[in-house]
Amino acid sequence: MLSDDQLNEIIVEAENVPSWVVLEKTPVNSSFSMVSSISDIDVTDSQSFGNPDDKKSKQLLRFSTSLNESFLQTLHRSPGSVGIDTSHENIQGQKLIASLIPMTSRDRIKAIRSQPRTMEEKRNLKKMVDKEKSKQSHRILEFNCCAQCLNSVSQAYRRSKNSLSELLSYISLWQKTFKVIGGKFGTSVLSYFNFLRWLLKFNIFSFIVTFSFIIIPQFTVPEKNTLQFTGLEFFTGAGYFQDTVMYYGFYTNSTVQHGSSGAPYNMQLAYIFTIGACLIVCFFSLLFSMARYFRNNFINPHIYSRGITKLIFCWDFTVTHERAVKLKQKNLSMEIRENLSEIRQENVKLTLNQQLVHVSAHLAAWVVSTGVAIACCVAVYYLAENNSEFLKNHQNPGAVLLLPFLVSCINLATPRLYSLFRLVERYETPRREVYILLIRNIFLKISIIGILCYYWLNIVAQAGEECWETLIGQEIYRLLLMDFVFSLADSLLGEFLRRLIGMQFPTSLGLQEFDIARNVLELIYAQTLVWIGTFFCPLLPFIQMITLFIMFYVKNISLMMNFQPPSKAWRASQMMTFFIFLLFFPSFTGVLCTLAITIWRLKPSADCGPFRGLPFFIHSIYSWIDTLSKRPGYLWVVWIYQNLIGSVHFFFILTLIVLIITYLYWQITEGRKIMIRLLHEQIINEGKDKMFLIEKLAKLQDMEKRANTSLFTMERRDVEQTSPLHVREHNAAHDLRFRRSVQEENPKV
């Protein structure tokens, strides 16, 4: 612990001269010019926090009025004024320069940038390092040519990367809006909009890929569209749109070739590979984001306790509106009080009766919520099954919207029902409450999508209708659209009305707060539908792009008009980790399962689409491999397919290796946890040692002080008159020592 010697020095100096300053030397210059020469000053620099061994050897330093050519001179702002010569500082400076010289220039720049020094000091540091480096490199002549070449190439590359990233940030979407939202509402609400923008990037990428590889080739071989266009198509997705590039059924299964010399373009393979590529890129992107968030957010959860430290030290500096700041302060005060009372309550043991009541309340809530979810699923399935007869009886083309309408109503009402459970259940921490609410909601949404997929894949696909893929595509389109309409209505009308009501009765309700969890779950739900639907309706990413765009502006406007900043601290990064995990685990893996079942088990329709006539979708790949095996140049592709992708042994060995590596990493983590605990105990023991030594030293100095009382008081009066700075430090140092001895009497373990 580095504070050992610092405290020792405080105590020793309290007798002679009570001033030592921890910041940079420069602001102290003027005041120290008044100090008498008998005073010894200990100057520590912020760098010294990292070098305890230097401090051990350091004596109390003499105050000098002369400058020398040392490293220190160049670091001062005003070299004309009085400088402080510390041999300790010189040693440190030399160490710093020595550590910077062997680095590559990029690392050196990064290291200099992250030094907590003023600009001038950094500039001088850079100059010295460059001078030393050029002195050294004069001796190395062999690598000059190559090194210079590489240097200039890497510099050019770096410069172009810099300018590219600046260009990207310049055209980055909605930067200014994000700053305004962050300034008024804080980082928690901003995390929702960040999530929205991230999903938008997925959709833009999917759209670009499908557009270039599937849609444009299809445009070059158009078929005539004989259907009428009525305005209702935008809502039902059927009618005129059925014979456009929007749906699977329109795509040709032939090999497109323009002219006799043009390259052949196999639409079947293009279709399956494009969708596969989109999904693979999404998979890896999700995986890496999730891993990054996990790594940053789940360090030592067993030490992470109530989090009052976080409340105190993580004040949101980005908030710049005066009213928002005042509100935040009020909310912080409430939250601190709540946290403290929770801690006090935690230590209160509940009686058996109360525990029983709590457990039964939880159980009842879970039973009810699961029951509601299952009931909704059954209702949806029943309606879906009877939909076809219903449609035959009612000729109204708008009748197809009934199922999406019901699903959207369920999605609107049931989460609010779940929030009501809060009145009955009592949770230990509000964090657990949020997690359980999220789990219930995501269970509901995923089960609805699951039941619909089951219906589509088992009933619609095997009912023998022509072009069942297009039918599924239309269903998904209608679901998405209805969800979009409901969200718009909720934001524009619902929240607006809620604000009007809240203003009428100001005491009871007040302004509402932005429910981040519910909105993020809606985004996840829509994105799941888009991923499933891209196979059946390749234009769906484009539609979702437009939807997200509009939703951003609507939510933004509604936020500014109808909401107040959040009252509880929302652990934004932990929540984002959880959301991305939800996006990956039930949502994306469900999509992969659905598409896998489609491609491997289902029979494509016979008359439409790029896979018409094949027994299974996957047979397009089989036939491609067959054609490749006849060409001698591509036998390696066939080999890879047969031995790596198609073989069971390979996957078995791969799984075994992954399991072994996972087990090893798990054991390493366990070992590290034990290490952390041991180190923590060691720190506590060292703290006790330090206090013991300080107490001993204080006793010795007391004895010495009594011996030299008269001399000391005279000196002290002298010193106290010279600078007001000293008095404060002196008192602080004295307080420190006093606190030490008090603590020795009441040891806190």
């Binding site: 610092q6 602001p27 940038r113 907590p116 500039r123 600046e166 360090i299 004040w315 700041v325 990064s573």
Partner: protein
């Protein structure tokens, strides 16, 4: 952010500032613009200084509860040169590295500048955060005790820099909250 056109900065200076801080080109130019607007006209930007009052009344800092500490930590002799302002913006920028932010956060929260965040510093921090008149002694004592029990590893009733660093490394929201945008207003 790209609207700051009125700049008389030399290209080499701009490159140097880019190398020494975490700010992008646009950000440096915008801060230069704001600096020129505030400093007395006629002076070259490298010699002009701003008082702490002028910097405290920037829109980014005006309502910050710690603005006086921020100004104290980043100024020299109670004035801000252009490079001081750049240094401040660099520490608070999005791209700054965590160690730099933690270092300066520690300095800001260390009110009595003795190198530790001790009991009285914590009390002052809490009072600034709550900024109300009815904060009882009990609440203050309670809060400081809890903070120390959570983060003080060697039980000396103060937070040294390592303990503070350790505590902040555990809260990933610190990086996102310790940011101020000094430009674009």
């Amino acid at each position: 952010m790209g609207q700051c056109l009125r700049h008389q900065m030399h290209w080499e200076d701009l490159e140097e500032y880019q190398a020494l801080t975490f700010l992008t080109r646009n950000e440096i130019l915008c801060i230069h613009d704001t600096f020129l607007k505030l400093c007395p006209p006629g002076k070259h930007y490298k010699e002009a200084t701003l008082t702490t009052d002028q910097v405290s009344s920037l829109p980014a800092l005006r309502v910050n509860p710690f603005r006086d500490r921020i100004c104290k930590v980043f100024s020299h002799d109670d004035v801000f040169s252009f490079e001081d302002v750049l240094g401040m913006a660099s520490v608070f920028s999005e791209q700054a590295c965590p160690s730099l932010k933690i270092e300066y956060a520690f300095r800001i929260y260390d009110f009595n500048e003795n190198g530790f965040i001790d009991d009285e510093d914590l009390r002052k921090v809490v009072l600034r955060l709550l900024n109300s008149d009815d904060v009882s002694e009990d609440l203050l004592t309670d809060v400081t005790n809890h903070v120390l029990s959570e983060s003080d590893l060697d039980n000396d009733n103060m937070l040294s820099f390592s303990e503070f660093e350790h505590a902040m490394a555990k809260s990933p929201d610190f990086m996102n909250s310790f940011r101020i945008h000094f430009w674009g207003f």
